[in-house]
Symmetry: C2
Subunit: 119 residues, 2 copies
DNA sequence: GTTATCTGTTACAAAAAGGATAGTACTTAC
DNA sequence: GTAAGTACTATCCTTTTTGTAACAGATAAC
């Protein structure tokens, strides 16, 4: 499996772009992370992810179109809606974990840099 | 290592945000992918990644500040500049690979969906 | 009837990101 | 001196993204 030829790199770039198209932006991955703790209602999601209803609505629609979340209307007193991760969204586990991991280690690196500077 | 508590999820969200702050947006990961095939000059990068000089300049500066690429001015006839990945950028390998992998599989999934539809 | 909750939408505004075009500065080649 | 190649920067503009505030429809509690 040779890497770094002009062609394989071009494919890699396209694949990365494809992923970013679906899951890029400020919110989608965060929403998935939040939903990993279980299904949530609209307002609940809005509060937990600290995202305004307008954006949340749009993001959820896009994610539903891409098969990442499912939307279920419940026949309750005030109609509630449950958003839940789909099985397909689990294919993003590696992506989520790697981003999360890097975020941790990068923050630690930054903090250490600050500590060294202040000595 | 319990997961999905309110607290661990909040941390996960923050970590993901941290990562996206550094490496999010349309270009940075793509530029890293391109630079994985070796150091490149400014115009060369601009051509290969199909990115306009203005944006490229800005992105490279940010990436340099975050320690992901190094900039080396070479004392050649027309002064050239070499951009190269730093060792630190290698910590992003998992991120790159997982995004790339997901992009491939997602594209295949889409294509299959189309094939089924057209029958 | 007023207020509250839930799920959104609409209208408007602001900000961030991205892109197009040209120009600067330097050097070499013709 | 004209053109061409290097590495950018400056200006202007469009698009995308994000945010705020208000509102709508439905139901229930007081």
């Amino acid at each position: 499996m040779e890497k770094h030829t002009a062609e394989s790199c071009s494919k890699a770039r396209m694949a990365i772009r494809d992923t970013l198209d679906v899951v890029g932006g400020k919110w989608k991955l965060v929403l998935i992370a939040v939903l990993q703790s279980g299904k949530k209602g609209f307002n609940q999601l809005s509060r937990e992810a600290e995202i305004s209803p307008r954006i949340l609505s749009k993001e959820l629609q896009e994610m539903e179109m891409n098969g990442l979340v499912s939307r279920k209307v419940c026949d309750t007193k005030p109609v509630t809606v449950q958003y839940e991760l789909t099985p397909y969204s689990e294919t993003l586990t590696d992506v989520l974990l790697s981003l999360e991991k890097w975020g941790y280690q990068h923050r630690n690196k930054i903090i250490q840099g600050i500590e060294l500077t202040s000595k």
